[in-house]
Amino acid sequence: MDNAENLIALLVAAPLLGAAVLLVGGRRLDRTGHWIGTALAAVSFVVAVVLFADMLGRPGDDRTLYQHLFSWIPVGGFQADIAFQLDQLSMTFVLLITGVGSLIHLYSVGYMEHDERRRRFFGYLNLFLAAMLLLVLADNYLLLYVGWEGVGLASYLLIGFWQHKPSAATAAKKAFLVNRVGDMGLSIAIMLMFTTFGTFAFGPVLGATGETSEGTLTALGLLLLLAACGKSAQVPLQSWLGDAMEGPTPVSALIHAATMVTAGVYLITRSGAIFNAAPDAQLAVVTVGAVTLLFGAIVGCAKDDIKKALAGSTMSQIGYMILAAGLGPIGYAFAIMHLVTHGFFKAGLFLGAGSVMHGMNDEVDMRKYGGLRKYMPITFVTFGLGYLAIIGFPGLSGFFSKDKIIEAAFAKGGTEGWILGGAALLGAAITAFYMTRVMLMTFFGEKRWQPDDKGELPHPHESPRTMTIPMIVLAFGSVFAGGLFSWHESFVKWLEPVTSFEHGHSPLSAATVTTATVAVMVLGVALAYLQYGRRPVPVTPPRGSLLTRAARRDLLQDDFNHVVLVRGGEHLTRSLVYVDHSLVDGVVNGTAASFGGLSGRLRKLQNGYARTYAVTMFGGTAVLIAATLLMRAV
């Protein structure tokens, strides 16, 4: 198909149109709105598939499409365009986003059925799709930045969708602010690119990395990493993701599991050329990845809120991806591969969780679940498959992708390699542990259901068709995607033209790594079984060890923020308000007042006595004469 590039804009346009229509349309669209939204998401998916087919029709090195819409900000040397670039990397994301996106739209139709603001919800979802697609389709960093902040906005609106809940509003604000900190990094990076390369379009920038100093590139790398940390909830900017679970579950599934949070991975992979030339930056990346994958996993173990537990796991899984991306050409492909598979199973898991909550009067505390497998079989099966996938059960998606990453981590070589590999393995073990914990607490064991605030016990039931179908589809993805991708390294080959690929030389053989991975996985499962399968689960959480308590509080990272940033900030602003009022303003008012005082005093001279006036005159004359004579004398 010739000039397929003209279709690219349509990818973004369709959901954008949806958002506009739904948000401006007003109440009259309340009844049909959700279907319009879903349809437009689907349209965009169809277009994506068409373009994919078209892309497959062309040789690997000639698969990139460009579409230049118009010149956006032309000022002197600063030339920003609205232009798209569709290559294998963005194609992958487009498919994931539109695919999973459409499914979740469908799911939401059921999930949000009883919300009177459903139309608005779909408007926001479409807005998100548009922004996310813009992010991955942009051909320059500035346009990427637009999408980057756009998804931030969408996520803000969706997390805070139930605005009447203060917790939701706060969570939304927090998410946006933390992201802004990351965005600072991105915007400064763009400025640095402009001053270094005179442009910020992918092609020229990534092509010219050879012509500038490593210092600059390292700086760029670190700035981009900062951005990635914000968006992908990596330490130290991870704190918002847990709270973000205040949003409706489909949102958590789409934005905070499958797509938006992985934008950081995309950014780093996309900027591979920069990182490849800046080892120090890469080191920073892998460190962040490794730390986060453990951090998230540990947090995941301690949470009783099913969504927060999954959020922790998301953090951890993205940690894997970042780690992989930090490894350079040996890792990029696997990072993306894990990203896609994770997109399937984590979305599946969240939808499952949503379905459970749907059946349990929106109860989120797993300690109040139990024995649900009999009541919601489909949910159980799909969730179970997702579970197996994520813990890396041999043969399922997660197994292939995660295994590759661990292998690559070891292949980094040297002590680093060992440390990273070790961390990755440990992470795998903990993942198995907490996911099993979730599984057991939710679907096995005896019922621990509690009456809700209206005092009635929940009557768990299977969710409507609109919700189960997406779960089933995603379950398929979680099962087969991995296998498909690693079939003759198809995925690696597919991405290679963009990200380049080289085989790492692991000190351990692939087989060893695999067995180790499986071993630790089994270990983790076993531990979890002993902890939660054998003994009954107390409804009120036990006090727990120091680590557990810390983990429940996100390892105190939030408390740190609160004390240092929030409190400190409040004090700073208060004192500044005082300064402004008393000092800056005080000086002015003081001057005025002092003139008033002076006036008051001088006024006293005018005491009404003619003779005083005469004296002043006489004195004045005397001074005048003296002065004149003095002038002459001097």
Binding site: R603, Q606, N607, G608, Y609, A610, R611, A614, V615, F618
Partner: protein, 99 residues
């Protein structure tokens, strides 16, 4: 006698008059002091007129006398009206307006 001495005298009288204006309360007296100052001026004028050997100074002295007379008329009128309405010719009593 050295004409300069007349000037000294004139300056002296002028100063005495000025001092009187500054220290005396009674409007009439104050006014007389002013007249004294004017006359000091006359003395100086006449002295200079003599020194320079032209009449200008003396002419001015005459004018000054006329002016002084006029001032007396106006001044007394004002002071008397003030005195009648306040039963006091003290300049210091007339201090309604101040500050």
């Amino acid at each position: 006698m050295n004409p300069v001495n007349y000037l000294y005298l004139a300056a002296l009288l002028f100063t005495i008059g000025a001092a009187g204006v500054l220290i005396r309360r009674n409007a009439i007296v104050v006014f007389m002091c002013i007249e004294l100052m004017l006359n000091a001026c006359n003395l100086a004028l006449v002295a200079f007129s003599r020194m320079h050997g032209n009449l200008d100074g003396q002419i001015i002295a005459f004018f000054t006398m006329v002016v002084a007379a006029a001032e007396v008329v106006v001044g007394l009128a004002i002071i008397v009206s003030l005195f009648r309405s306040r039963h006091s010719a003290s300049v210091d009593d007339a201090s309604l307006m101040k500050l």
